[in-house]
């Protein structure tokens, strides 16, 4: 029975829960990121990984030790890490002569690499270097992408999608308005991508909407795009596919027009006014003889029909 050996059955409830948490779900959990230090990473790259970890914190794992691997040549070790820590986003940092200060940002689908894009760091300002107040851990950032370059070609479009996926954090139904205090701003100009993070200060403007002032917070990076590995169209389409159960069911008898106004169709039965209960008075009471006649009349057609 070699087939039986392959079934991994959890022995305890706890192990079962652990495995269930990793199974594919209808509505997915927040994507976790793993930040991996490469075989030879210099101080800059290490600091970048640490800062990104601080930004992403509850949904990230930092691999602090050296990991001698090259994601563009062999993805198996990344896939192994992904399976181990159940992370589907990764940021791999390395440094060598050919590609100094190298970051590889990517995501996984079903524990296989979907997209990855190599970015070179040109300039880096750390969280520690900026002497300002910081945001509390786990703040959901506002993401802003500026520049027409982000719609220029498929690579930039994927990069935008990848960055949104990486930094957006948990999916929330509502948010405290005063808690919006963190902005990640990406600007793409001349083949460079400027990533800046600011703390938001809400100032009084005299009306309901506050005036915004920004304060540099860090980390800020100037990036250039290097190699890319994008998923094929089929695989990308497959990964975008939503399960049928999540799609909203069509409700009967409700239609919408172009402006989004809802129209309902109501089916009403004719009201029998003979049964209407009016004011009760002694004078209007039915005598027993009347009642029996009415009942006979009322019942008889029904009975004959059924027989």
């Amino acid at each position: 029975m070699d087939a039986l050996d392959r079934v991994v059955k959890p022995k305890t409830k706890r192990a079962k829960r652990f495995l269930e948490k990793r199974e594919p779900k209808l509505t997915e959990n927040t994507k976790n990121a793993m930040l991996i230090k490469g075989g030879n990473a210099n101080l800059t790259v290490t600091e970048v990984l640490k800062d990104i970890y601080a930004v992403k914190k509850p949904f990230a794992v930092l691999y602090k030790k050296k990991n001698i691997t090259r994601p563009f040549e062999d993805q198996t070790s990344l896939e192994f890490f992904s399976k181990k820590s159940d992370c589907s986003l990764f940021l791999f940092g390395s440094h060598n002569k050919k590609r100094p200060n190298n970051l590889i940002i990517g995501r996984m689908f079903d524990y296989h690499v979907l997209d990855m894009i190599e970015l070179g760091i040109e300039k880096f300002v750390s969280l520690k270097d900026v002497k300002n107040s910081k945001c509390p851990e786990g703040t959901k950032p506002m993401l802003i992408f500026a520049g027409d370059t982000f719609d220029l070609n498929e690579e930039y479009r994927r990069l935008k999608s990848l960055l949104i996926d990486f930094f957006r954090g948990p999916n929330v139904p509502n948010i405290r308005l005063a808690g919006l205090e963190y902005v990640l701003h990406f600007t793409a100009v001349d083949g460079k991508i400027y990533m800046r993070s600011y703390k938001v200060l809400l100032k009084k403007s005299g009306c309901k909407i506050p005036r915004i002032e920004l304060e540099e917070m860090g980390p800020s990076l100037d990036l250039v795009m290097r190699r890319t590995h994008l998923a094929s169209d089929d695989l990308y389409k497959l990964s975008l596919k939503q399960p049928k159960a999540l799609k909203a069911k069509k409700k009967k008898n409700i239609s919408h027009d172009v402006f989004g106004t809802a129209y309902g169709r109501i089916h009403m039965q004719k009201q029998d006014l003979g049964k209407l209960q009016t004011r009760k008075m002694k004078g209007l009471k039915k005598r027993p003889a009347e009642k029996s006649v009415e009942e006979d009349g009322g019942i008889s057609p029904k009975k004959t029909k059924s027989a």
Partner: protein, 362 residues
């Protein structure tokens, strides 16, 4: 004099209002795109490239100004969302975000339904449907309703029987109790084995049922079947569709085409004319006849099921009649007993001639 004052005041107020608006107003050539569910804004306007190319401090200031304007626009949108105070009246203002609109890939594929077990497959093939069994059965000996299975089950637990019959032709020295116990143990073990087999099959081939042309994702460890499939695909992927590929010494001449997609085969143009005629006639007959072709297995199963259903319906009817009678009995001692009885009698009177008439007609 007074009129001038009023006008002045109004103008001043208007100016003040405009001043306030100016502090939060931002002008953009192209409007931003928002996805408030993700707190996301996309600005399509090309930024001033000349300024950004300049020295460090100037560039930083420009970037910051750009970021400020965009953030202001996003915050304006967010503040316009329906919001309410959390908890009490003094709580923080909480805005309700819409669903995220920017489509992002999933982390894992959607969950697959559990593949049918071996029995379920078989039952489907044969058209066997699940029948409901009552949990209680009438125990003749105990004269009461008892469970079909388990503790205090109807007919007594066979494992606890104190006497066992020695079957004719059996070894008289054989322990019948031990035999029964052993058989039960074997049954349990077989069931468990089958359960595990089903689990293993479900585990092994998740993609086989869902997608026949599963993409060849790279995996760390490829199973034997996967390697075989890869080899088959590779063999056929030559210009001559693998006709001139060398074979291994013990490899069969024509590897069986399993799963790799069968080629269409046409019958030869010239050949058996009688067979062709009969085939065509058969096809035409099938098309012209209204009746679907008869599948004997299905038909037999259907008949059996119908008989079952009839038997069940007859049983149910009996029970229903009993139930009705019971209800009627209960009704009699009610408060308005007189009225209800009169009503019934009236109804019956009406009913009888009508039903009789119908019977005559039929």
């Amino acid at each position: 004099m007074a009129a001038v004052r009023v006008e002045e005041l109004l103008a001043a107020a208007e100016e003040q209002e405009a001043e306030k608006q100016r502090s939060i107003a931002v002008h953009k050539e192209l409007e931003l795109e928002f996805d408030l569910g993700n707190l996301l804004a996309l600005d399509r306007n090309p930024p001033a490239a000349a300024g950004l190319r300049g020295a460090g401090p100037r560039r930083e200031a420009l970037l910051r100004a750009l970021a400020r304007d965009n953030t202001q626009l996003l915050v304006t949108q967010l503040w316009a969302l329906p919001a309410e105070r959390a908890g009490s009246a003094a709580g923080p203002l909480v805005a309700q975000l819409p669903e995220p609109a920017f489509r992002l890939p999933r982390e894992k594929p959607p969950p697959r339904p559990r593949p049918p077990t071996r029995w379920e497959q078989f039952a489907r093939l044969k058209g066997i449907r699940r029948r409901k069994r009552t949990s209680l059965v009438w125990d003749e000996q105990a004269k009461e309703w008892r469970r079909r299975w388990g503790y205090r089950r109807a007919g007594g637990d066979p494992a606890r029987a104190w006497v066992a019959e020695v079957p004719a032709g059996a070894d008289p020295d054989e322990d019948q109790f031990a035999k029964r116990r052993r058989e039960k143990r074997e049954r349990v073990a077989r069931n468990e084995l089958n359960r595990l087999r089903n689990l293993a099959r479900a585990h092994r081939a998740p993609g086989a049922a869902a997608a026949p042309a599963a993409p060849l994702h790279p995996t760390g460890h490829q199973s034997r079947a996967e390697l075989g499939r890869a080899a088959r695909v590779a063999r056929l992927s030559t210009a001559s569709l693998g006709r001139f590929q060398p074979r291994l010494p013990k490899e069969p001449a024509e590897p069986p085409p399993c799963g790799g997609g069968r080629k269409r085969r046409f019958a030869p143009l010239l050949g058996d004319l009688a067979a062709e005629r009969s085939r065509q006639l058969e096809l035409l007959r099938g098309m012209s006849s209204k009746k679907p072709p008869l599948d004997i297995t299905r038909a037999v199963n259907k008949q059996l099921r119908e008989e079952d259903a009839e038997a069940a319906a007859a049983k149910g009817k009996k029970r229903a009649q009993r139930g009705k009678r019971g209800r009627r009995q209960q009704q009699r001692p009610g408060r308005s007993g007189k009225k209800s009885s009169s009503k019934q009698s009236g109804g019956k009177r009406q009913q009888r001639p009508a039903s009789g008439g119908k019977r005559k007609k039929a």
